[in-house]
């Protein structure tokens, strides 16, 4: 039986957080800019957070999707390994 790889579990968490976090950040940013009158100086903290979210959204989505894709490759390699690898042979002398 193949043991669970803790680093792959961590990667799944990172990938899901990046993708779902991007969706959440974009939703909040869109709502924030929709509600805020840009002609009026608003809360500087919220404005800065909105800018950070806007800067992180595209890279986070990109890396999150790439992480999930890489994990699928890793799982495929892991599943194919028991049959694809030839049996070990005793060293001949």
């Amino acid at each position: 039986m193949i043991r669970r790889n803790p680093w792959m579990a961590l990667l799944w968490v990172i990938g899901c957080v990046l993708v779902l976090g991007t969706a959440g950040m974009q939703t909040w940013t869109a709502w924030f800019y929709f509600q805020t009158d840009l002609a009026v100086v608003g809360d500087p903290v919220l404005t800065t957070l909105a800018q950070i979210a806007g800067a992180l959204a595209l890279p986070a989505a990109l890396v999150g999707i790439a992480t999930v894709a890489g994990l699928l490759f890793l799982h495929a390699k892991r599943r194919a390994r028991p049959t694809a690898r030839p049996a070990k042979q005793a060293p001949s002398r």
Binding site: R3, N5, P6, W7, M8, L10, L11, I14, G15, L18, T48, Q51, I52, G54, A55, L56, L58, P59, A60, L62, V63, A66, T67, G70, L74, R78
Partner: protein
Amino acid sequence: MTEQPTFDPRFDPAFQRGYEPPARETPPAPAEASGPDGAPTVSDKPREQPRPAEFAPAVEEAAAEPSQPEPSQPEPAQPEPAQPNHALSNSFERTLGVVAAALVIAGVSAALWANNSNYNGPGQTWGWHQALQSVVWALSSPMITVGLATGVGLVFRRAIVWELRE
């Protein structure tokens, strides 16, 4: 006068061509050494051959190591092949982690600066400030992307190393 064979000092002469153990070190086994029905006894175990004087300290050090529970066992004829270094962490990995964090932080800071300077800058007049703002804004997103990808790549490396170790 016979020419003495030269041995490579890096390796045990017992395993090199031309080595002949001294006659006194290989006494014939006594006839009563074997037990009833020819079963081997403790005295039938292969004995460690004494080595020349220049290798005596190494033998003593090896015997003094606590990881060898049976010092009377003969050493393997061939040294074990070098295992690939699957260390989880090395200096390059730590450097990559620092680079990843720096790229993400610098990218977010650049995006914040470019965004704020767009509103608080000198205005519509073209100058170095506008050019720098455009360059920084263009670089911020790739910097964040590469930084995040580097961090995730480090975790991928650990996952692959873990697979190789198992």
